[in-house]
């Protein structure tokens, strides 16, 4: 446990000491602010459903940028050798890193608190969909972060990590597009695998344990794949 926390702490220290996070956060917050202003001022409705939808698309890009350095940089700098020769298990290492990335992402989301506050001061928003919407963004982001972490474990090049991470996230996002063509039980399966469909429920204010479990399972799968890929690349 102590080692897991040490890894997480180190990730946070490195993240907040480098300009990458601040640039990514600034660009995201500007975009989110634009969505909020345009959508809410046009619809004059006190909810964030469509704002959440737009944010969810931006997260396809943002998540792999938050995770690109996780393993690619350690490999490039040679610090991976330090980690792999200390009594640290791969699972501790991977979970510590994912936790660090998740906290960073949570901070980024928390920086949009002005949206609900503004709604609250100008209207009477329904709290349910606001909370499930944020939960949905976080859980979907978590799955993307795990996918991005997996991508980072495959290479020592951060650009390659972003590209692969983005590809996986996008595929998860649009996989249901294929279901009408495929049809039948496979089509239903693809529909069920779609993370955007799950997110739609959160954005509408529907809290379904199935959707929560789906996002957490994806996170678990990519965490497992990351451990496997690190293990495999060593031998």
């Amino acid at each position: 446990m102590r080692r897991l926390w040490a890894v997480c702490r180190k990730e946070l220290l490195c993240t907040f000491a480098s300009p990458v996070f601040y640039i990514v956060a600034a660009v995201n917050l500007i975009l989110f602010g634009v969505f909020f202003y345009v959508i809410v001022s046009a619809s004059r409705e006190a909810h964030l459903r469509y704002v959440f939808h737009n944010i969810s698309v931006v997260l396809l890009f943002t998540s792999p940028m938050l995770t690109m350095r996780l393993f690619a940089e350690e490999r490039k700098l040679g610090t991976f050798e330090l980690l792999m020769t200390s009594p640290l298990t791969l699972l501790e290492l991977v979970l510590g890193k994912l936790l660090g990335a998740a906290l960073t992402f949570a901070i980024l989301l928390a920086l949009t608190v002005d949206f609900p506050i503004l709604l609250l001061s100008f209207g009477r928003p329904d709290w349910g969909p606001l909370l499930t919407g944020y939960l949905g963004l976080f859980l979907m982001g978590l799955a993307f972060l795990a996918a991005g972490m997996f991508a980072s474990s495959l290479t020592d090049n951060q650009v390659v990590a972003v590209v692969i991470g983005f590809g996986i996230a996008l595929l998860l996002f649009i996989i249901s597009w294929f279901s009408p063509q495929v049809g039948g039980p496979v089509g239903d399966f693809l529909e069920g695998m779609s993370i955007s469909g799950r997110f739609e429920n959160f954005a509408r204010g529907v809290l379904d344990t199935g959707d929560v479990i789906f996002c957490l399972s994806l996170t678990g799968i990519f965490t497992f794949l990351t451990v496997r890929s690190l293990d495999w690349r060593r031998w």
Binding site: C14, A17, F80, L82, M84, T85
Partner: protein, 317 residues
């Protein structure tokens, strides 16, 4: 003979078709300070990476502290302090944050962390940069921080890959003293491509060349074997062709190559058999023939040539 700290048997390490280590066997006992000596690309770093469990052996067995590196990697890692060839530091962290991280990874008891950190920083002379960001430190200081990281948890086995690279001469002396000090209750294995460095720190030397162990000696023995494994440079005022013939005919001379010389003089690089110093013979020859000697000195061999000599002379122990 109890279990050694390091026991390597029939080790082979391949990267694709490149054979980095071939049939390597050796043993290091507790309390020894062993130098791994070899030219660039000899396989020193690969050897250390296998010892630390970072790279798996292709074939053969490697045991550290009685634990097989493949079967009990975590046990092995608990025993070692390791300074890799590329210093594993995070540019964004301060020295103190970095050492704290290393202490957590190594599970140094919480109550002892402050003490151990202070001691490691004292030993490596990094206390004055404790609060600086590592990315802003000079190469030498980064090297010292890496060394502090390796010492922090008081490991039973220290593995140092070229620990003195990038340090200034006075710091090199300090590190040597430090390693000798550390060795009093520890096993140390360090790599280097500088013979004099290894001979000053280590009790025993393993010479490795192209992935094979070519010498397995105490420092004294190695020096004896390499003694005279040098070239001699001579410049005499004499007719070139005649001098060349005469020198070539001297006993123990294996090769003579003419070097650039002024008008009316002749200069040669003379190579001789292992364990032979031909300078006396050359000066006697010059005296007999009345050739004034303008220059006569031994020329240090490059390490590469020295290793070739060792391998060529049969090597092995």
């Amino acid at each position: 003979m109890g279990p050694g700290m390091i026991e390597v048997e029939g080790l082979r390490k391949q990267f694709g078709t490149t054979v980095a280590l071939n049939d390597v066997s050796f043993r290091v006992d507790r309390g020894e300070v062993v130098g791994l000596l070899g030219p660039n690309g000899a396989g020193k770093t690969t050897m250390m990476r296998v010892l630390t469990g970072y790279l798996p052996p292709t074939a053969g067995t490697v045991r550290v502290g009685g634990h097989d590196v493949r079967e009990e990697p975590i046990e092995v890692r608990r025993l070692i302090g390791y300074l890799p060839e590329t210093v594993p530091v995070y540019a964004e962290l301060t020295v103190r944050e970095y050492l704290q991280f290393a202490a957590d990874l190594r599970e140094v008891p919480k109550a002892e962390v402050a003490d151990r950190m202070a001691r490691a920083m004292g030993q490596t002379g990094t206390a004055e940069v404790a609060h600086r960001v590592i990315g802003h430190l000079s190469k030498g200081y980064r090297q010292r921080v890496g060394l502090a990281q390796a010492l922090l948890h008081d490991p039973a086995l220290l593995i140092l890959d070229e620990p003195t690279v990038g340090l200034d001469p006075s710091q090199v002396v300090e590190i040597r003293t430090l390693v000798r000090e550390l060795a009093t209750h520890r096993t140390v294995i360090l790599s280097s491509h500088i013979l004099s460095e290894v001979s000053q720190i280590c009790t025993r030397v393993i010479v490795i060349h192209r992935g094979r162990i070519v010498g397995h000696d105490t420092v004294a023995d190695l020096e004896k074997r390499l003694k005279g494994a040098e070239r001699v440079f001579v410049q005499v005022r004499a007719p070139g062709v005649e001098a060349l013939e005469a020198i070539r005919a001297l006993p123990g001379v294996t090769a003579v190559t003419p070097a650039e010389a002024q008008e009316g003089t002749a200069a040669f690089q003379i190579e001789c058999e292992l364990g032979r110093d031909v300078r006396e013979d050359v000066s006697r020859l010059a005296l007999d023939r009345h050739w004034p000697i303008l220059d006569l000195r031994s020329v240090a061999m490059s390490l590469e040539e020295m290793f070739l000599k060792l391998t060529g002379a049969g090597g092995g122990s």
